[in-house]
């Protein structure tokens, strides 16, 4: 009798409620196929052509953005030079990643806040940060908006709604979520954009940030600059996920994967993500697949850990060349116009540098204590006096070894 029940059960139970066949625990295939669910979206073809039905970047924005990309590149190159000459202490740029940086920023509305990682100087400039001010930051001099408090390349620019850069990886992610949440509470049409590298996806704050945003459908756009490397650690040592976009699934949000060297694709994905967020449809994680063409920063020499063969294939995918090809294809740019842009950009950088370097190299002594609190406490006041009298008594206090 038992056996009959059992056999009948096996038959019955051999199919689940929907009539599909049950497989033993161990044999169920993995149904998830990230390459299909998260295809690498492109708008720009290799030959510069594009399916314009898929692109909504207004034509009149193409040349300004191209100019910005060229400026961004020239700036990075010049600053790396300056660092080698010892004129600035440190630099970290975005060579090869300009389309991701600028395409995403362009895809947002002007009132949207930007929470940068540390390679998005292009976005700050797009938002109006004067070049000379940026250079003052690199010099940490008397004109520095950050009063010399931060390392170079850690700019903040409030008028452009460009938040403050910090070094600790991924901390800006939940912060952006908080800003988006606050905007919704205040009923403002404001969707923050937050940038981070693929390395940051391993950090605590990536997880909490995306989870908080997912569970409450907070309006925010997450842009992961997957440039392949976190200093010396390649992306496949960062995660076993096939793509970074699929990490969105864990948070119940939409994931996108786009060619990060294709300005139009990055723009498009960001624009749509922004629209969805603003419509209450929740956040999006956009993985922009790009490449870090240089060292991590001026402190890094990638030759120690990265063979040149890995980098070479990316040279012909250069985002500036890609956009240039498109502009040429659309008849918007000639070689001579391009050369003129490059000259103008170089001159602009040179002029800004002259302006910045003309300022005193140090902010005043009291700036050391400014802004720890809204008003200094007695400790800061006493310590400022202590420092003043120490400097007065022995000027060596204000000089580093080797200096003066």
């Amino acid at each position: 009798m038992r056996r009959e029940i059992h056999e009948s059960f096996v038959r019955r139970n051999g199919h689940d409620v929907h009539g599909e066949e049950l497989t033993p625990f161990s044999q169920r295939p993995a149904a998830h196929r990230p390459e299909k669910e998260f295809p690498l979206e492109r708008v720009l073809a290799d030959d510069g052509s594009a399916d314009l039905a898929r692109s909504h970047l207004p034509q009149e924005r193409l040349l300004p953005l191209y100019r910005l990309m060229v400026l961004n590149r020239a700036l990075d190159e010049r600053m790396i030079q300056l660092q080698r000459q010892g004129r600035i202490g440190f630099y970290i740029g975005s060579i090869g990643e300009e389309a991701t940086v600028l395409g995403a920023a362009e895809g947002m509305a002007p009132q949207d806040w930007i929470f940068p990682c540390y390679r998005e100087h292009g976005a700050a400039i797009l938002r109006g940060l004067p070049l000379a001010k940026f250079l003052c930051d690199l010099l940490g001099n008397a004109g520095d908006l950050m009063e010399g408090h931060q390392m170079p390349c850690h700019e903040a620019f409030r008028p452009g709604r460009f938040a403050s850069i910090s070094s600790p990886i991924a901390t800006q992610i939940p912060q952006a979520v908080g800003a988006g949440w606050a905007a919704r509470i205040k009923k403002d049409d404001m969707v923050p954009l937050v940038y981070f590298g693929e390395g940051a996806t391993s950090a605590n704050d990536f997880h909490t940030g995306l989870n908080f945003a997912g569970v409450r459908k907070v309006p925010v756009v997450f842009v992961c600059r997957n440039n392949g490397w976190a200093i010396s650690v390649p992306r496949e040592r960062q995660t076993a996920a096939v793509t970074f976009a699929e990490k969105a699934l864990a948070y119940g949000m939409k994931g996108e994967r786009v060619d990060g060297n294709d300005l139009l694709a990055v723009y498009e994905a960001t624009r749509l993500a922004r629209a969805r967020a603003a419509a209450g449809e929740g956040p999006t994680l956009i993985e922009c697949v790009t490449y870090r063409m240089e060292g991590h920063s001026t402190s890094d020499d990638p030759r120690v850990y990265r063979p040149a063969e890995l980098v070479d294939p990316w040279r012909k995918k250069d985002p500036i060349l890609r956009l240039k090809g498109h502009l040429v294809w659309r008849g918007l740019l000639s070689e001579s116009e391009d050369a003129a842009i490059r000259d103008a950009v170089a001159a602009e950088i040179q002029a800004a540098l002259r302006e910045a370097e003309a300022l005193p190299s140090k902010p005043p002594l009291e700036s050391l204590f400014d802004g720890v609190y809204a008003q200094p406490l007695w400790q800061q006041r006493e310590q400022l006096e202590e420092l003043r009298s120490a400097v007065a008594a022995d000027p060596r206090v204000a000089r580093l070894r080797g200096e003066g």
């Binding site: 806040w113 929470f115 520095d144 908006l145 950050m146 009063e147 408090h149 931060q150 850690h154 903040a156 620019f157 409030r158 938040a163 403050s164 910090s166 600790p168 901390t171 992610i173 939940p174 912060q175 952006a176 979520v177 908080g178 800003a179 988006g180 949440w181 606050a182 905007a183 509470i185 205040k186 404001m190 923050p192 605590n204 704050d205 997880h207 909490t208 940030g209 989870n211 908080f212 569970v215 400014d370 802004g371 720890v372 609190y373 809204a374 008003q375 406490l377 007695w378």
Partner: protein
């Protein structure tokens, strides 16, 4: 005037500020519908809605991280960390972000918020529901640290903290959440941060305490008085800003100081107080400044009575210092 306990006073302060200022939001684990595991946020969800009284996922770093963004954008968040012991997953956001945001942006941005958290022992909570981590935050420039000992102060200080332009860690003495009762005015009032309260005047020994330990110190100074030692007791209330003048004034008068805190002794806030007193009152000191503190162990479970620096140990120190 209504008589409230500490938890009711905290609740009252939150409600008062939320009514006054629509930018104040409360957030944390279980703070919403449930009203918090200690009921500090009871009724707020009903009155102010889910947008301003936010149940978050279980992630302290996420709570503080999103609070930073909210504060930057102009809200005034009051995140709750369910127990001070669980503040450490948020340590990076607090130490590297909250504390430095104004400084690092050259004053372009600021992220004022009040991180509330019940702290301290005496509730049989073992080492994960009893810690007193205030020293970590006092050691972090950019943060303020407030610890009330009673309902009146809890309300007035919390209101001031919420209105303060700087981020404040607000540690609530959960051991006396219900035990400490007192009259609390209705409506708004502020107690400025950075003012110690002399709760007993005396000439022989200065005793410094805060939070739950003020009650032990209070009992000890009473017993000391009976034993003929006349103490002056200060409830510091705010550790940063610190009312160093009140301390200096008192120790210059008495020449003797006993410092009481629950946290482990080594590198606790008592060390800073001892150093400051010694720097500022050197010529007035007539006995070594003495610390009566938790021991240098994790907070124990069974022997918590022994661990806590309660009145008998404080009294002993007072007597030794007085007799030196």
């Amino acid at each position: 005037m209504p008589v409230l306990n500490v938890i009711q006073a905290v609740n009252d302060a939150l409600r008062t500020e939320m009514r006054r200022d629509p930018s104040v939001v409360v957030m944390g684990e279980d703070v919403g519908r449930f009203g918090g595991v200690f009921r500090a946020t009871q009724g707020l969800h009903d009155e102010f809605g889910a947008d301003r009284v936010i149940d978050t996922p279980l992630a302290e770093g996420g709570i503080v991280g999103t609070a930073v963004g909210m504060a930057l954008y102009g809200l005034r968040p009051v995140p709750e960390i369910q127990f001070a012991d669980f503040i450490f997953p948020a340590m990076d956001q607090i130490v590297n972000e909250v504390a430095k945001y104004r400084y690092r942006s050259g004053g372009q941005y600021a992220c004022p918020m009040v991180i509330r958290s019940p702290y301290g022992g005496g509730i049989r909570g073992g080492h994960y529901h009893s810690q007193s981590p205030e020293a970590h935050f006092v050691h972090t420039p950019g943060l303020k640290v407030v610890v009330p000992s009673n309902p009146y102060d809890a309300k007035g200080l919390l209101i001031s903290a919420i209105r303060d332009p700087d981020p404040v860690l607000f540690f609530e003495p959960k051991r006396v959440y219900r035990a400490a009762k007192g009259e609390v005015p209705e409506g708004e009032y502020e107690i400025p941060l950075g003012q110690a309260k002399v709760t007993r005047e005396g000439g022989q020994v200065t005793v410094l305490a805060w939070g739950a330990m003020w009650h032990e110190a209070d009992q000890a100074v009473r017993e000391a008085a009976e034993a003929g030692v006349d103490c002056e007791l200060l409830d510091l209330r705010s550790l940063q800003p610190l009312d160093v003048e009140a301390i200096e004034r008192s120790v210059k008068k008495t020449g003797r100081a006993v410092i009481v805190h629950e946290a482990p002794r080594t590198c606790g806030f008592g060390a800073e107080l001892s150093a400051l007193i010694q720097e500022r009152c050197f010529l007035s000191l007539e006995a070594p400044i003495t610390r009566v503190t938790g021991f240098d162990t994790p907070f124990p479970y069974t022997l918590e009575a022994e661990y806590l620096p309660r009145a008998p140990r404080i009294l002993r120190a007072i007597r030794e210092v007085a007799a030196f």
